[in-house]
Subunit: 213 residues, 2 copies
Amino acid sequence: MTKSKPAAKKSRQPDVTRRNILDAALYEFAAKGLAGARVDEIAARSGSNKRMIYEYFGNKEGLWLTVLENAYARMREEEHAIDVARMKPEEGMRYLMEFNFKFCSRNPEFIALLNAENLHKASYLKDSKKIRELYTPLLVVITDLLQRGQKSGVFRKNVDPVDLYTTIAALGFFYFSNVHTLSTIFGRNLLSQKEQKARMEHSSDVILGYLRP
Amino acid sequence: MTKSKPAAKKSRQPDVTRRNILDAALYEFAAKGLAGARVDEIAARSGSNKRMIYEYFGNKEGLWLTVLENAYARMREEEHAIDVARMKPEEGMRYLMEFNFKFCSRNPEFIALLNAENLHKASYLKDSKKIRELYTPLLVVITDLLQRGQKSGVFRKNVDPVDLYTTIAALGFFYFSNVHTLSTIFGRNLLSQKEQKARMEHSSDVILGYLRP
DNA sequence: GAATTTCGTAACTGACCGGTTACTTCCCCG
DNA sequence: CGGGGAAGTAACCGGTCAGTTACGAAATTC
C-alpha cells in the first residue's frame, strides 16, 4: 500500500523473518503464557505478519514448541560451553550451581516458558525429538565430577546424579520462578543485586554442604 | 447474615454456592491458568451459574484472587497445625521439609496457581491484605528451631530463616512444579511413589546436611 | 400473603482471536 | 526482460468469551 521501499530493509530474508518471529513469540509467550499470548501481537512485534507465522510454524502450538525447544537448546549450549571436566570436583560443582543460578537470573523468559509447559503437563515437549539427547552429556559431566570427588575423598558416596542436578536446578530455578510471590510474602525485594548474591552463596553452601562426606 | 438452616433441599445456601464456585474455580484455574480458564466452564462445574460468580466475586480477576488467598491460607493452616515447637531441632526441621514436600505432592493445584500468579509478577497477590501476616508465625517457628539447634550444637550458625525456608520450599515445590518436564528429559516417571519417596529422603538429606555445623 | 430479597436461566452484546484467503509485491532465473 | 513462485499485506470469517440483562421462580421477612 503506502509502503514503497524502506531502503535495503524489506527484501526477502526468510531466516531473518523466522528469527524475528521466534524472538517476538518468546517475549509474548513468556509474558502471557500460551493461552494468554496473542498471535496478532506476535506478528506485530516481529515486524512480520500472521501469514508468515502460519507458513513457518503451522499454528500457535507449533510456534510454541519451537520456541520451547530453542530455549532449552540455548540453555544447554551455554552450559555445555563450560569446561567443567577440567575443574576440581568442588570447584566444578560450584560452577555448575552458579551458572544455573545466573542463567535463571538472566533469562526470566526461560522460567516462564517451562512453568507454562508444566501447566500443560509437558504435552508439547513430550512430542519433541531433540530434547532428551540434550541432557545426556550433562549427566556424564556430573557423574564424572562425583566420581572424582568421591575418589579424592571430598564428596560423600551414594549420590544419584539426577537427584543432584535436580537439586541444583531447584535452588536456582525456584528462587527466580517464585521471586514475585516470595518478595510479596516476605516483604523483601528478592530481585535486588544484594539479595541475589546472598542467595547464590547460600545455594552453593547447600550443595557443597550436602556433598561433604 | 442469616444462617443456621441446613435444609436438605435445593434451598438457598449462599455459602455453599460460594464454596462450590471456589472449588470449581480452583480446578479450572489450576488446569488452565488465568487466561486459559473459562468462566462458563467454572459456572457449569460449580453447579451454579455465571450470574452468581459475578455477584459474589465481581469479575474473573476477583475470583482469581480469592482462590489464590484461599489456597495460601489452607496451606499455612495445615502447616501451622503441626506442633514443631515441641520437637527436637533436627526432628522439627525434617518434619517441616517433609510436610512441605507432601503438601506439594498432594496439592498440584496449589503449585499451578502459584506459578500462574508469578507469571503475572504476583500483581494480584500484592493487593492482598491477608497474605503477609500468614507467614510471620512460620518464621518464628523456624527461628526458634534454629536457635535451639545452634545452642545444642547440632546446627551451624549464621543461617537466615528466610533463606532456609526458601530452600525447603524450593526442594519440594520445584520437583512437583517441574515434574513433567523433568520426567520427559530424564526419561523417568518422577511421579511414581518410589521416585517421590527417594526424592523426599534426598531433600531431607540436603537440608540436614547443610545445617550440620 | 404481600412485599422484598435472593437465586437461576438463558439470551444477548461487543470485543476479540486463531486461522484463512484474495491479492499485491518483489526476487530469481531462464 | 518477463513469468513464476516466494514473501508480504490486510481484510475477512466463524467461533468464542467475559460480562450484562431481562425476567421469572423461590425463599424470607414482615
